[in-house]
Structure formats: structure tokens, C-alpha cells
Subunit: 340 residues, 2 copies
């Protein structure tokens, strides 16, 4: 499953794949086919997406179930560095990993762009590691269902672990619960800032909070942070699966704490496989995306009509200039289109 | 504008109003017509809603602009008691007020139901006060656009202040910014729990945080809380209108602090009328609801087709039982319906 970063890094394949090529490629976990298939899922053309859906329905279920992990954190928290250390650890232990990462070049607040890219390149050359960066708009920026499809595609390709990175801005994190089994929140240690930078709701969603950069001068601060977060977790509302949010520290530079986070992950997986929650949660996610997709089909059908965007634009201007009420405008546009 | 609570409290008018009756009634600020019109906005029947939209387009713009205030807070924080004191204060100062309240009988976590009702009844008998409780599902529980329409209707009726109460559960508070000019958050004083119960994102949305029940034994705690919140507000991201979140205390029992919150509200209104933000914000809200309404029309049109709910149910079951992929199911339902 090893391949170079550059192969994954191409968003626009020269030619589209056929259903047969996708089915064969994914079944063999061919990284180039997988990457191209994700590109087609991210395509604006409905036909591209439908081809992949057709293929996915034909690919037999993978024997083993992937462990789907969502990862988020503020810019500068060290997400890329963590993913690198985590990926290396898994690779060394012969555990295959697919990383659905945010394209560093499209990050709005992106730290060291070249640094990120080099690290990812380094990781992607290791055995059993697949990395697919996506433009950040593809990551729940209004196109959440493609993210779910990409995860399912990676699962069909048989990866043991799927790591889904979200951009730590706005509402996207709350959507992540519809995508993954486990939600990992990376935070920076800091005197008193624990509760400042991170939205409370995000913390409550987390299955584990990982205090990064717990090394050198930062070590003591990180330990204090860990304690504070642990105290805070006791006040969180109970989770349906009775899992209590775990808190840990790590240092990607000193390569410390990676094993303990993997232990937490394995413990979670065991706990929630036995009690049936992972299965139940996935069924709920499937139902959620069924409805989302249906709404997407309905809306696409409407908004792809000829001339509609111009009419929409025109009415929006009228609403802005108070020439028409918002509901009158909506009704007018809808009635005009329905008559066509 | 005075009327009894019981008149407002009827959700199902015996017969529907005509466009003419709505136009005349709202123009005269007739509380019974206003209440019935809101009932029709909350109706499941599209024709009821469209009738009100038609009427609204005919009602001439009110001379004065209403000040639209959203109010939220956890159950038990004293929302009803605050609304009562605030309403009495406004009534005494000859300022008319429309309260779009959550129906206490439908509150999931509702404190003293009878107490709430009695207080509201008391207030609704005062001059210039209109109170309209809605079932909580009507308050942004998937039906946000009706809330906006109700606010616009109250504005057309010429109220000086419109108070929109949200249920303090889940995501609804973040939607409130699409509805109002000012967002007031009520909080309880408590040792160290300031940042625990309330989602950070909600705090950042607030234009003012009001620590309630600042009386008796609680007074000192409330003062400490006020200081803590004030410190926290300095770390909030800057608001577009350059307004800095204000913090105040109040005691509805001792009737203290109501005047100072009204001063804050007036200061905000002046500040943001001069800089043009209120106007700009309302234009953005109009555009937002234009798109929301259009999507609602599109979806209603699809989901109101004959037999569709049965088909939806059937496919959802198949998704649950893993007999079909979520995207295949969505595609199948959409294609079946499109062919009809």
C-alpha cells in the first residue's frame, strides 16, 4: 500500500475511471485508484459521483472493519506533526492507515506550509500508509457527504485505521460525529487558556483530549493542562456509550505519548464493539447521510436548472435593496421554476 | 395593545383569517389578529403561511423600527421572571413590547410551569404588552423561518421592542443571530461553574451577559461571577460592529438591575444605528432567510408528494438493515420521484 506523496497529490486525473477500474482498484487497495476515486467524489459533476457510488455498491465488504478516527485542533497545535508520528508508529506495527488530510496549501490559517508538506511526503513513503490531502472546502465546508463517501471508500480498500482531519474552524467539528467512531481533540498547553480557545461543545464531543508539545520547558504546563482537562471532563454530560473522555499528553518531537494514545484508541474500540455502540452509531450515520444525500439530490436538481443562478442573483439583489420581501422573493423564484 | 393572556394563548383559531383581516388587524396592532396570524405562520399548511406572506407584503412599513432582542439561558436561570420584570419596566415607561415566548407547557426541562404561566398572565394584562407563547418546536426546532416571520409581523404591528425567547438547548442559540439585533444571555452565579454550563460559542455570541438572582445570600457570588465574565469577554474575538460584550447583574425579586440592562440595550441600539450595523445586519438576515425559505419550498415540494413518506420509511429501514447503501437508497428514491 506504499506510494509516493506526489501520486496522491494530484486532484485532477487526466481521464476518468470506469466502474470496473474502481472496483478492481479499490479491492486491491491500489493507492492511485483510491486517490482518483476520491477526486471523482469531490467532483462537481454528478455523473462522476454516481459512477463511484455504482462502483462502491459492487465492491464486496471488507473482511475487517476500519477504525474511523476524526482529528481536530486549532492551527499551530501540531496536527501534522502528530499525524506523522502516529502514522509512523502504526506503520512500524504493521497497521495500515489512510489519512484524509486537509491540503496544507489551502489552509487559511495554515502554519508552515512547506513543513507540513515535507512531513506528509515523508510519511506517505512508509509502508501501509495512504495519504490523501483534500482542499479544505472539501472537508465539511458544505460538502460533508463526500467526506463520508471517502471514508467508506478507504474502508472498502481494507485500511485498519482511517484518520479524518478537519479544519479547526467554525461548525465543522460538530459534523464530525456523523463521520467517525472516535473523535480526537488536540490542544496546546497554556496557563489558563484551556477553556478560552476551544469551544465547549467541541470538548464535550471529544472522546480523547491530547495535550501536544509536552516536552522541554512546556512539559510542566502540559501536565497542569492535563489535570485541568481531566477535572473538566467530569462535568461533561454522559455519553450514550458510557465512555468517559480521556486526557493524555504527547510529544511528537520526543516521540512520547503516541503509544498511550493508541492504547486509549484500542480500549475505546474494544469497549464500544462489545457493547454494540460502534455498530449502532454507524447505522445512525448511514441513516443521517441517506437523508443528507437525498436533500442534496433534491437541491442539486433545482439549482442546476438553466438560468436559475442568474434569477437567484437578481432576486437576492432585490432583497438587499428592499424591493421585495425575502419570502415573496423565495416564493416567486420557486413558482417560476416549478412552471418551467 | 393590552389584552388578556388567554386570548393570546389559543393556538388554533376557529376559522382562518383573510388577507384583508390580517392587513387591517396588524396595521392596528390588534393582539388577537396578531396572535392568530402567528398561529397561521406556524401552521403545517403551506396555504396558511402563504396567506400571511401575501398580507405582510401589503402592510405598509411601520414608522419606527422595532428593537429585536433575543434572550436565552439554561432552565432555572430565571428567564420568565426576568421577562416579567423587564416587561413591567417597559410598560411603565410607555414602551410597547412583544414577547415571543416559549410555551411553558411544552418545555422539556421547564421549571415551575404554573408559576411561569401566572407570571406571564400577570404581565400580559399590562398596557402595551403582547405575549405569544409558541410550542417550543416552533422556536427554531427546525422551523426557524416562522420565527423570523413572527418577528417581522410584530415589527409591522409597530412594537418598540420585540423579545424573542429561545429554549436553551442544543444548537438553537447559534441560529438566533439570524433573527435579532441583540442577543442577551442570562446566567446563574456559581463558584467556578461560569464556564461549565454554558457553551463557549454561545457566550461569544452574546451582546450582554446578565447574571441573574443577584440578591440575598447570592449577591456576593453574583458579583464575583460578573467579574469573571468580564475578564472572559476581553478574550472574545472582536465583533464586526466593534461592540464589546457587556456584563451586568440583576435581581428580578428586588427589581434591581433592570434599568441598567435597558441602558445597555439603548446604548447598543444607538451605537449600531449610527455605524449602520443594525441595517446591514438586517439585510444579511433577509438574504439568509430568502435562501432558507427557497430551500424550504424546494424540500416541501418534494416531500409532499403522494406516497413518498412511505417509500422514505421503507428505504430507511433497508439502510438500517444494511440491505442498501445510503447513497444508493437516496439515488433510488430521488430517481423514482423524478420520473413521476
Amino acid at each position: 500500500m506504499s506510494q509516493s506523496f506526489n501520486q496522491n497529490y494530484q486532484y485532477k486525473p487526466k481521464k476518468n475511471l470506469s466502474v470496473r477500474e474502481v472496483v478492481d482498484g479499490i479491492s486491491k487497495a491500489d493507492p492511485q485508484i483510491l486517490s482518483k476515486a476520491i477526486t471523482m467524489l469531490e467532483s462537481k459533476k454528478t455523473t462522476d459521483r454516481l459512477l463511484i457510488y455504482d462502483a462502491m455498491a459492487e465492491i464486496p465488504k471488507s473482511k475487517n472493519r476500519s477504525f474511523r478516527i476524526g482529528i481536530t485542533g486549532s492551527p499551530g497545535v501540531g496536527k501534522s506533526t502528530f499525524i506523522e508520528s502516529f502514522g509512523k508508529y502504526l506503520s512500524q506495527h504493521d497497521i495500515s492507515l489512510a489519512v484524509l488530510a486537509v491540503d496544507p496549501s489551502s489552509k487559511l490559517n495554515g502554519g508552515s506550509i512547506l513543513g507540513d508538506k515535507t512531513r506528509m511526503e515523508d510519511l506517505s513513503s512508509m509502508p501501509n500508509i495512504f495519504i490523501r490531502p483534500s482542499p479544505s472546502k472539501g472537508h465539511l465546508g458544505g460538502a460533508g457527504e463526500q467526506s463520508y463517501d471517502s471514508i467508506l471508500l478507504c474502508e472498502k480498500a481494507g485500511f485498519d485505521v482511517i484518520l479524518f482531519e478537519t479544519v479547526g474552524v467554525g461548525q465543522s467539528e460538530t459534523h464530525v460525529k456523523h463521520l467517525v467512531d472516535f473523535f480526537l481533540l488536540l490542544v496546546l498547553a497554556g496557563a489558563g487558556d484551556e477553556l478560552q480557545g476551544i469551544k465547549r461543545g467541541i470538548m464535550e464531543l471529544a472522546d480523547a483530549i491530547l495535550v501536544t508539545k509536552a516536552d522541554g520547558e512546556n512539559l510542566e504546563k502540559a501536565k497542569v493542562s492535563k489535570n485541568n482537562y481531566e477535572n473538566a471532563t467530569h462535568l461533561f454530560p454522559n455519553k450514550e456509550n458510557s465512555w468517559i473522555t480521556k486526557v493524555a499528553t504527547c510529544s511528537s518531537i520526543e516521540n512520547k505519548g503516541i503509544e498511550s494514545i493508541w492504547d486509549i484508541l484500542k480500549k475505546f474500540q474494544k469497549h464500544n464493539t462489545i457493547n454494540g455502540w460502534i455498530e449502532k452509531n454507524r447505522v445512525n450515520q448511514d441513516v443521517f447521510w441517506f437523508h443528507e444525500k437525498l436533500n442534496q439530490f433534491i437541491q442539486n436538481d433545482f439549482y442546476s436548472r438553466i438560468g436559475i443562478l442568474e434569477e437567484l442573483q437578481e432576486l437576492e439583489e432585490k432583497v438587499k435593496n428592499k424591493q421585495i420581501d425575502p419570502f415573496k422573493a423565495a416564493k416567486q423564484l420557486f413558482n417560476n421554476e416549478s412552471k418551467k
